[in-house]
Structures are given as C-alpha cells and as structure tokens.
Assembly symmetry: C2
Homo-oligomer: 467 residues x 2
C-alpha cells in the first residue's frame, strides 16, 4: 500500500502547475478593480475541487461578500468526525511592483522556491488540501474521506473579512462541525515545526483630518490656520508613549498577561534575535513595548500600527501650501479578551479627544474587526494536529507558538461552536504582505502530507475522542 | 494728452488676450515634465517684450537655472533712475485637477475675474509691466521710458529660486540699479490698497524615515520593529509645542519682535477675522502661535509648516503592513534676522536628535533658501510707490502691510545693492498655490496704471531724490 508521502511526491509536479495557475489570478480583494479576479479565483478553486472529486462545490456570491467557495465531501458515515477547513483565496495588493524581483502574478519555481503573490498566503496553504486529500484517499484505500469534510475558502480575508459574520450565518447549517481547521498560519521555522496556538485579533481604521477647504498659500496663511498634517501627526504620535506603550485609555484592560511559566517557555524558544532583525525583519533594530521580548511583542501583546499616511503635496520639488486634508490607515492587533467593538470605541474616543479645534477629525472603521483566538492546548484535536505535523516532518512537534497575524478565527469558532486548530506551513521569511512573496516548495509538500495524516488521526479518534 | 488710465482702458482687451495666451503655457517649475513649458513661457514673454518695444531682450538659459528673461529699455539718459523689475514666469503645480472648476491651463474671464494657474501669481502681475509701460510712454509722450528699465523674470521662483544667486552673479553687471521693484505681492484688499513692506524668508526640506527594507506583515512583525510612519509623526508632532510655538532650539533667536507701536498699528488694520476665516482662509478657525494675532502670525512671526506627507499603503481597503518608508515635505518661513543657513542647521540638528534608533532619518534641503526682507518705510522710493498706487486707486494709500510669502528679495537687494519696493495687486482670495487660482481684472488694470505712475514718480525724483 502506498504511503501519504509517496502520493504527495508523485503528484507534486502537476499540483505545483495547478497552484501556479491559481497564483496567476490577481485576486486582490482590497482593490475594486480586481474584484473580477477574485470571482475568477473562486471559480478556479471550485473547478479544481470538483476535478479532485468533491461532489458538492459551490461558489457563494449571493451576499455582500466577495465570492467564497464552499465544498463538501461526506465520508459516507454521518457519525464520522465533521471538519470545516477555513482559508482564503484573495491576496494582498502587490503595489510597489518595482520592488518585486519577478512580476507578482507570473509565478515561477526557482531552486525549490515558488515565487508569487499568494504562493504562501493563502493559495499555497489552501492548495495543500487538494493534494493532501488525494494522499489521504490513496494511503487509506478509501474513495471518500475518513472525515466528513467541508471547505470554506473566503475571498476577502486580506480586507479584514468584513462580511464573515453574514457569510457564516447564511451558511450556518452547512458548516456544522466538530472541529475547525484553519490553514492560514505558519511554523516556527523549517527545521523547527510548531503548532500555532493563537492569533491576534484586528481592527482597522482610516483617520481623516480636514483643514482648510482649499489648499492655502503657506506664506499668506501658514501659521495662522490649523495644518491638517500637523494635527494628524500629533494624533498618531500620541498613540504611543515614549516606552511604546499604547496610550489609548482602557486599551490594556482586557489583555491577559502571560504566566511566568509561559514567559519562560517563550524565552526558551530557539530564537536568534540578531538573525531575525537582519533576516526576515529586514530592519536595523528590534523595538517595541518596553518590558517585553520580541516574541512576546508579536505573540502576546496588542499593538497600534500605522500602515499608510498621505496628504498635501507629494510630487517633485516643493509646493508651499497648507493642505486641505491628511489621512492615515491604522490597525490594532488584539490579544486576550480584547473585543473589537470595545477597542473601536476606545480608539474613537481617543482620536476625538485628541482632535484640536479648527479641523474636522473623523475615524472610519473597516468592518467589525476580528477578535483574538487561542487554541485549547490540551484538546485532543491539538494533539492530533501535532501528531500529523510530526509525521510529515519526521520529528516530534513539541513547540507551540502564537502568531501575530489575525483572521476571523474567533468568529468561526463562535458561530460554528466548535474547537479550532491551525495547520499551516508559512515561515517568517515568506514575505507575505510584502513584495517578493514566496513559499518553500518542500514545506508546502510537507503540509500536503500533514493534511493527509490529520484526516486519518482525527478519524481514528472519532467524534467521541474529540470531545 | 491721453492719461495713463485711458491707455490702460483702451489696451485692456488685447492685453488680456495676451495674458491668457501666457497662462495657457503650464510652466510648472517643480515638475521636470513641464520644464519644456517653462522654456516656452520664457520665450513667450521675451517675444511680448520685443513686440512692446524693448530693444534688448534675452532668454537666459546658460546656467543651472530654468530659463529666465532679462530685458533692457534704456531711457536715453544714462543719469536717469535705474530700475530692475523682478518677478517670475513659472507657476505652482496644478495637482488636484479635479478640484478646479475650470481646467487650470485653459484660462477664461467670467464676470470680471480671470481664472487660471498663474493668472495672479505671477504672470498677471508681471504682465502689468507690458501695458503699464505703454501707458507710461503714451501719457508722457515719450518713445523710451523715463527710467532706465530692466526686467528680470525668473523661471523657478515657485521652486524656491534655488539658483537665484548664480543667476544674479552671472548677470550682475547688467543688473546695476538704483531701485528694485518686485511685482509678486498683493494689497490688503480691493477697497484698501496697501504697500507691502516685508516678506518672510523660506527654507524647504524633505524628511525621509527609512524603516524595514521590505514591507512587513504587521501581524508577524508589528509591535516588534520600528514603524517609520510612527517615527516621522513623532518628529513632525514635536516641531510645535501645545501653544504652537516652534520647538527647534534657537529658532527664535534672530526674530525681531515688533514694537508696541507696530503691534498697535497692526491691530488697527481693518481686519475682519471671522470673514477672513470663512472667506479666503476657507477654514473653521484661526489657530497659531499663542500670544499673537492672526495678522502678526502671518506677517511678523516665523513658522514651521508641513506641506505634504506620504508613506506605506494609501490605496483602497487596507494592507496590514509595517511600511518601509515615510516622507514629509516641510517649509519654514523666516522673519527678522533669521538666516536660512542657520535655520537649516538648527532644524537638521533637531531632526537628528529626535530620530530614535532603528530607523534611518535623513533631511534634504532644497537649495539654500531665501532670507526675509524688510522695506525701508521712510525711503523716497516707498513714498513714490505709495503715490503711484494711490493715483491708480484714486485714494491715499497709508496702509503698510507685511506679507507672509517669500521670494528671493533679500538676495536681490544684497547682490544688486539697492533699495527695494513691492508693487503687486494680488489679494488674499486669489487662491494662489491652490486650485481655482484667479485674478480680479479691474485690480490687474489698476496695477498696470500704477506701474505707469511709478515710472513717472521715480523719474521726477531722479537719482538724487532716491538716495
């Protein structure tokens, strides 16, 4: 009988061709100009799922959300474990095209690395479920999965999943499950696979400061009317104190501080900070909230981050104006029991209070945000995930890591009412959300194998063993 | 014998056609893409000067500067007063085209108002010297001006006159003069003509903060590496204290505080602040350095103004990154004895000191800047200018005003070694440097008439009377 690994190796070349075809579709959810591509991407995935044997595949385009894909492949045994796999087929914008070594939507494999926007986040990680399922079927000699399998692949995760609650509620009956498997995270490193046990939440806002109704000559008016860029800079600068703590009143109220044991475990991780700074972080220094280590700042602490800013004259030379408007995009990562709605209100109050007379300050929130989520590390499904990952990597997986990123995991867990585990193989230097996104092909193939192992591991435990 | 006013009225229509042809040339010095238009604008002006009788007209394109125009029309009497008229034929960028009611370079006259970029600043004010000179000749029955007339019209004033010193030194011999007349300023209001007696100086910089070498996922890296927009915001916010004083150490050292008499005179000006706020300032409030009035903030106090800012993701939706870079354009207006080189050093030191570890902070100065300049209010040339303006406006001109704007007046006065007066008819609501720049035709025609009166007034005083 063939092994999961054999099937993955045999199918790798064709599978990589399919993945590259998918990456060629620029499914950028943030840009309305690419929404047709988001639809094309959903249809491409649906077609691949059907070609791989899924008997029930739908493109969901009947709500305010961008097209999502919902697919079912029953095991044949209604009492088998019911699993919902979650991920997304939309991608980050690929602006700054001049900084890409290869065009973002012309994927290619060079020296075992797949280059392209979405190669890792999240097309590469979702595609693992195509080859992984084939390996599961072949290795177990089955014609249907050993678990009742559902895939939900949404099309606007990179835009903050603004309609995930509507989507989940609209298809709630089809999403009944004993376990949610999220494939949109990574491992600690290629040599040190780990199971992710937490993701931060996220709320995203745009701050708009309006000053004069027309650009004013800075000689004739400057110094005598409020400058919206100055006012915006003051608000943004005030978000952190000199120790880089977030100053928004109440912001830390619902943060759960790690225990001393947790802090010790994090400190014991094989983390080379100098290598991290100059390597994946491509920076000159680590810097963050005083009193916390780099890994804690990413995994355990909430943040306020400015993602973009613009206003006034930005062309060549100079233009001596007091400009009309200034804008900033700001996101907050949430941890512990921080709730998006509460943080949104606290930040709104803070910005409102910081606004000085003479300018109009508005804050616009993008969607409802997503809450942080933490995995039950003692849950049998977590154990099964560690086992599956260990079999694929030929090692014992003991490491548990928290990711700094955010997705709608808390919403999934809340609406579906099931425990949740993470199964993904991204690494810190995949340059997701940056130019030159890439994925290591050997890790993707190990991910395919881990998927196959996980379905077997879960089936062996059964519904009773997962409670 | 015909009067100056008769000639101006008779020539107005044709003159306005010529001015509109000039405004059609988008001579934006800040944009290298428009430098061909700056050349075309210089050639257009040179051709008009020749057509109006100037016997010696040159386009100066033999240095690092953008093309300037130098024209001479001797009076025939080498002992007559020698005047250099200064202005500029380049214009501000017209970005934000969607905010223009009419296309910026398709001028038109509607209800007595000329619309178009450069209608006021400075093509309209320089063009006054074409029709004004014809009025002078016709009204005095002369075939050459009563003064030895030189025009210097540069092509990069709106870019901070970065090469004015080279230009002045290269043509120093041809610029020998008893008086400099600058036509690039305004009057207090259409009903209250005034002579301008001062302009602020200016230095312009771009601040660049470089963080990570690649855009980083704000979940995986945010909170643990410096964010260049946060760092830039802190630097910009720190430029002013809560009372809107500039905090750069030493910044106010060379400011000359106005006397109590000057403050009383300024306070007595017929200034309706509420009307100014909602009218020309198009704002919701006056705001500026504590302890000073609006007119003092514009005329008597130095400023730090942010003209533009950009960095990170500025497209639709959101992109959760720690961006690589953030930029701001900043200008400082100078007064009293503040010297550009000193202020540049002080600001450079301030920005360098404000930069925190982990980001690279650079400040780039655009050119050497220009120093503030104050007119000798007791000088006979100032009296002559008041008289000329009064004859054009049929009123006694007693008001003296300081403008907040900046030009290379101190450099002109320094190199040429002559006193300087201002003769211009812009108003606060001409929207110079903003969308919808315009000029009031009746004021431009009064300006033409004032030019004609000024040449006669100066000739009557003679060189001896101007010492």
């Amino acid at each position: 009988m063939t092994s999961e690994r054999d099937v993955v190796q045999a199918g790798a070349a064709q599978w990589l061709d399919t993945l590259q075809d998918w990456v060629r579709i620029p499914s950028v959810s943030a840009d309305p100009g690419h929404h047709g591509d988001v639809t094309a991407s959903a249809e491409f995935l649906a077609e691949q799922l059907r070609a791989n044997g899924f008997p029930d595949v739908k493109v969901l385009a009947d709500g305010p959300w961008l097209p999502a894909v919902l697919a079912h492949w029953p095991s044949g045994d209604p009492d088998a474990v019911r699993v919902v796999v979650y991920g997304h087929h939309d991608v980050q914008p690929a602006d700054g095209v001049e900084r890409w070594t290869y065009p973002p939507f012309e994927p290619r494999i060079i020296d075992g690395v797949l280059h392209g926007r979405g190669a890792s986040d999240d097309k590469g990680n979702i595609a693992m479920h195509l080859l992984g399922l084939r390996a599961h079927l072949a290795a177990t000699g089955r014609t249907s999965p050993a678990v009742n399998l559902t895939l939900l692949v949404e099309g606007e995760e990179e835009s903050g999943s603004p309609h995930i609650m509507e989507l989940l509620h609209a298809y709630r009956d089809e999403l009944a499950a004993d376990l949610i498997v999220v494939s949109d995270t990574g491992i600690f490193g290629p040599e040190t696979p780990s199971v992710c046990i937490g993701m931060r939440g996220l709320v995203a806002a745009e701050i708009h400061v309006h000053g004069p109704d027309i650009d004013l000559h800075s000689g004739s008016f400057g110094g005598a009317v409020p400058n919206p860029i100055t006012e915006l800079s003051r608000i943004l600068a005030a978000l952190h104190d000199d120790d880089r703590h977030v100053t928004v009143p109440g912001f830390y109220d619902d943060v759960i501080e790690p225990t001393e044991a947790e802090r010790a475990a994090t400190a014991a991780l094989p983390f080379d900070e100098e290598a991290w700074i100059t390597g994946p972080a491509a920076s000159r220094a680590a810097a963050g909230e005083a009193g916390w280590t780099t890994l804690e700042r990413i995994g355990a602490r909430p943040t306020a981050e400015i993602n973009g800013i613009w206003g006034g004259y930005t062309g060549p030379g100079n233009k001596t104006i007091v400009p009309t408007d200034a804008y900033a995009k700001v996101t907050f990562r949430l941890v512990g029991r921080q709730q998006p709605a509460v943080i949104q209100q606290q930040v709104t109050d803070f910005v409102t209070a910081a606004a000085r007379p003479g300018v109009q300050v508005e804050i616009h929130w993008e969607g409802a945000g997503v809450a942080p989520l933490y995995v039950d590390t003692e849950h049998p499904a977590t154990t099964a995930t560690r086992a599956a990952l260990g079999q694929a990597f030929d090692t014992d997986v003991v490491l548990m890591t928290r990711e700094g990123g955010s997705g709608p995991e808390a919403e999934l867990a809340g609406v579906i009412g099931a425990p949740l585990v993470f199964l993904g193989v991204m690494t810190d230097d995949d340059q997701i959300h940056a130019p030159n996104e890439k994925a290591v092909v050997s890790l993707l193939l190990k991910g395919c194998e881990a998927v196959a192992h996980l379905w077997r591991e879960l089936a062996e435990r059964g519904r009773a063993g997962l409670r």
